[in-house]
């Protein structure tokens, strides 16, 4: 039992922290967001160069062989920077799905350029009626001769608008709610019949509603086993959710520190705000909520690739519940303690708040994960 970082992890942490400090200040971020894609292709190239895109992949696949704890370290540090690059969509969702489900040819075609920063990808695993549940799939994939034909609509596909490749879950058998009969397909974004309605997120990312109308795919588009795609998708979503919890912790740590600084500096009624006991306790609660979230993010990272599905789901759902609840509280209180300027677009506070708000809406909300957790058999 050990909760310390390895030397390598400490180096990774320092390098990401340094990057955020040097290249991702609040002002630099503004400039990045003003670029046409809403993020910086240069920064993306930097990520690739520093090996961050390759971090969570096996060495055999061209990765650095990192595990979820390494991802935790990276994401917590990036969380302080409020990065807008498509790391979650490309690396942790689509990339991991290719790594876990793809065959050698698929990896060579898509994963290799992805790790090198030459291919952006996304995972379209959700639909409107399913809300947060990847198990509800109405989109259908039918055999037409050798080929596949996909029809349907996927919702809220993170960075699906700028992805070169979208991994789409579709039903090859069964009715919309059945766990069996779901398969995963690699769909090039320029496929005929694929259309995307781009939208922005409140925290500076983009997403799309994806429509598939008679999209024709070759047999090699099937990623993983036919009809058994849900297990793969859930495993990928869980590992990504664990990473996202670490990102949330990074944002909470930053917000708590920024708020403490503000309380020390800002004076009202002749004394610093930090002198008011009610505000002190609010800050203490922010700290505790951050630590609660951190503890479960660590647990989620440690179990994110657990062989036992129940163990993995319990750990990830617990972490996501806490990240959602803590993120909401910490974000709201940081704004409240800043008073008026907390609500303006000028300060970073509001942007951390928006990031934390958006994170809860992605990869399953606190509500949804609580329900999943409660539906699990009891532990010990």
């Amino acid at each position: 039992m050990d909760f310390s970082l390895t030397e390598e992890q400490r180096l990774l942490q320092e390098s990401v922290q340094r990057f955020v400090q040097d290249s991702y200040s609040f002002e630099q971020r503004r400039a990045i967001m003003a670029q046409p894609d809403g993020f910086s292709r240069d920064t993306w190239a930097q990520f690739a160069e520093m090996g961050w895109l390759a971090l969570p992949f096996d060495e055999a696949d061209g990765g650095l062989g990192g595990g979820p704890v390494d991802t935790l370290v990276m994401l917590e540090a990036l969380g302080e920077g409020l990065v807008v690059e498509p790391l979650m969509a490309t690396v942790l969702l689509a990339g991991r799905a290719l790594a876990c489900g793809g065959d050698d040819a698929q990896k060579a075609e898509w994963l290799t350029p992805l790790l090198e920063g030459r291919l952006l990808a996304a995972l379209a695993a959700h639909e409107r009626r399913g809300r947060h549940a990847p198990g509800w799939v109405e989109t259908r994939a039918a055999r037409v001769g050798e080929h596949w034909r996909l029809d349907g609509e996927k919702s809220a596909v993170l960075h699906g608008d700028c992805a070169d490749l979208v991994l789409v879950s579709a039903r090859t058998a069964g009715s919309p709610e059945e766990p069996k009969g779901i398969s995963l397909f690699a769909v090039p974004a320029d496929s005929d019949g694929l259309s995307r309605q781009r939208w922005q997120t409140i925290d500076g990312l983009s997403a799309c509603e994806l429509t598939l109308a008679a999209v024709k795919l070759p047999p090699e588009a099937l990623v993983g086993e036919q009809d058994a795609g849900l297990g793969l998708i859930e495993a990928v979503l869980d590992e990504a959710a664990a990473a996202q919890c670490a990102e949330a912790v990074g944002a909470m740590v930053a917000l708590t520190r920024i708020t403490a600084d503000y309380l020390r500096q800002r004076k009202q009624f002749g004394q610093p705000l930090a002198a008011f006991q009610v505000l002190q306790h609010r800050l203490a609660d922010m700290f505790m909520d951050t630590e609660r979230s951190r503890s479960l993010a660590v647990m989620a990272a440690l179990q994110a690739r657990a062989g036992d599905v129940v163990t993995r789901q319990r750990a990830v759902s617990a972490a996501k519940v806490q990240a959602g609840r803590s993120g909401r509280f910490v974000g709201q209180q940081a704004v409240q303690l800043h008073g008026g300027i907390g609500i303006s677009d000028e300060l970073s506070v509001g942007h951390y708040f928006k990031r934390l708000t958006a994170l809860d809406a992605r990869l399953g909300s606190a509500d949804w994960h609580l329900a999943r957790f409660a539906a699990q058999p009891a532990s010990g």
């Binding site: 959700h126 409107r128 009626r129 399913g130 809300r131 947060h132 549940a133 509800w136 919702s155 809220a156 919309p176 709610e177 309605q197 939208w199 922005q200 997120t201 409140i202 925290d203 990312l205 997403a207 509603e209 009202q268 009624f269 008011f276 009610v278 505000l279 909401r328 709201q332 704004v335 409240q336 008073g339 008026g340 907390g342 609500i343 303006s344 677009d345 000028e346 509001g350 942007h351 708040f353 928006k354 708000t357 958006a358 809860d360 809406a361 992605r362 909300s365 509500d367």
Partner: protein, 399 residues
């Protein structure tokens, strides 16, 4: 105790319903339902004000001699209830409910004669210059100074969070005319023309991307001393009067309209084969808030009832502020959870009611995130909820 309205009150209720049925156009209703800011935009406000003014209801609390309606508290309650249920715009308060009562109470005849009709007609649009960068909850520490210069003042300083300053042609300000004695004692109340040389307005965008508030800069702005309301040094008295004047209040009906709106949203939000409204967990989350809104409705009625009897409302007015703001936040938070993955959706175009075509099909989803984000201000403005709890505690402790 009873809940019944008198025959006259019932007749008034009927009048209000008829007015709303004929004057509240579908366009106005839609604009209200797609407004994520505290107040509706100027075009909507102007149209609604004009319709209210034609009916003589724009200034419900002014004396009749100035064109007011002199409603009783129960009439206010009835109007607010019906207007909320119907989805009518709220009136913009800075003119009718803020500067006007001060002018009526402390202004001279010339000021009354000049300004009041222009508020009713819509010729003047007001904004409020109270807060400053260094003075948040501690208003009396304000620094914007007005120095005598012949028959004028020269006003220098800056005001923050000035709602609708980008629309207003006039601003009423608390300014420092003296730094002697208690900080409160050196404050005066000035009416300033926004066209005056030396005034500049910088927009402050909220974290939702909305532009509702501003910072206003005064660089040696010449303001006639005749534009001072009341005596020099009486500004704090004016401000306090306004605060007391605003006591009581009818917020619960708007909150109940939000409850109903969320219920419709839950009916229209599918989950698998079903809809959220079918799930007792969602229904109970809404019910828990509805219970609190019902409680607030009665508390408001109790306060109104006491006001009518001539009793001061006491710490209940702080309680109303806390209830209204925290319930509004809780309701927008529930809306976010209903929106699910679309709680992260951001529609940058404004105003929302002017946009054609909606990415997500359901245009209501475009309002939910900015509404949630903007509503965080509710517990900060008009006296933070921390300050309100200080006030209540003082009352309970009898200190």
């Amino acid at each position: 105790m009873d809940l019944q309205f008198s025959a006259e009150e019932r007749a008034f209720q009927q009048d209000v319903r008829e007015f709303l049925a004929s004057e509240l156009t579908p366009e106005l209703k839609r604009a209200v339902s797609l407004t994520p800011t505290v107040f509706v935009e100027k075009d909507i406000a102007d149209e609604w004000h004009a319709r209210l003014n034609r009916r003589g209801w724009l200034a419900p609390l002014w004396p009749r001699q100035y064109g007011g309606a002199e409603w009783t508290p129960v009439q206010q309650f009835i109007y607010e209830s019906e207007a909320a249920r119907a989805g009518a715009p709220t009136t913009i308060p800075m003119g009718v409910r803020m500067v006007a009562p001060v002018i009526i109470r402390f202004g001279n005849e010339a000021q009354k004669a000049y300004y009041l009709p222009r508020i009713l007609s819509g010729e003047d649009t007001w904004c409020q210059g109270y807060s400053e960068p260094g003075s948040g909850s501690d208003l009396a520490s304000l620094k914007t100074r007005a120095e005598p210069d012949g028959e004028d003042y020269r006003v220098t300083g800056t005001k923050l969070w000035t709602t609708h300053a980008h629309y207003a042609n006039r601003i009423f300000c608390l300014v420092r005319t003296s730094s002697e004695g208690r900080p409160q004692a050196g404050i005066s109340f000035l009416l300033i023309d926004m066209d005056s040389p030396g005034i500049s307005v910088t927009p402050i965008r909220s974290l939702s991307g909305d532009h509702e508030v501003n910072q206003v800069f005064f660089d040696s702005v010449r303001v006639p001393q005749a534009n001072r309301v009341g005596d020099e040094g009486q500004g704090w008295t004016c401000a306090k009067f306004l605060l007391e004047h605003e006591r009581g209040g009818v917020f619960s009906h708007r909150l109940m309209a939000m409850v109903q709106e969320l219920r419709r949203l839950m009916v229209d939000t599918p989950e698998g084969e079903s809809a959220l409204i079918e799930d007792p967990r969602w229904r109970e989350r809404l019910a828990a808030l509805e219970v609190r809104v019902l409680s607030l409705e009665v508390t408001e009625m109790r306060v109104l009832s006491r006001l009518r009897a001539g009793d001061p409302p006491g710490a209940e007015s702080s309680m109303l502020k806390i209830e209204w703001s925290e319930l509004q936040q809780a309701l927008t938070e529930l809306a976010m959870d209903i929106a699910g993955p679309y709680a992260q959706f951001f529609e940058p175009g404004r105003p929302l009611y002017a946009l054609a075509g909606h990415t997500l099909g359901d245009e209501r989803l475009a309002r939910i995130p900015p509404d949630y984000l903007n509503t965080r201000a509710a517990t900060i403005f008009a006296g933070t909820n921390e300050i309100q709890r200080n006030i209540i505690a003082r009352m309970v402790l009898g200190a």
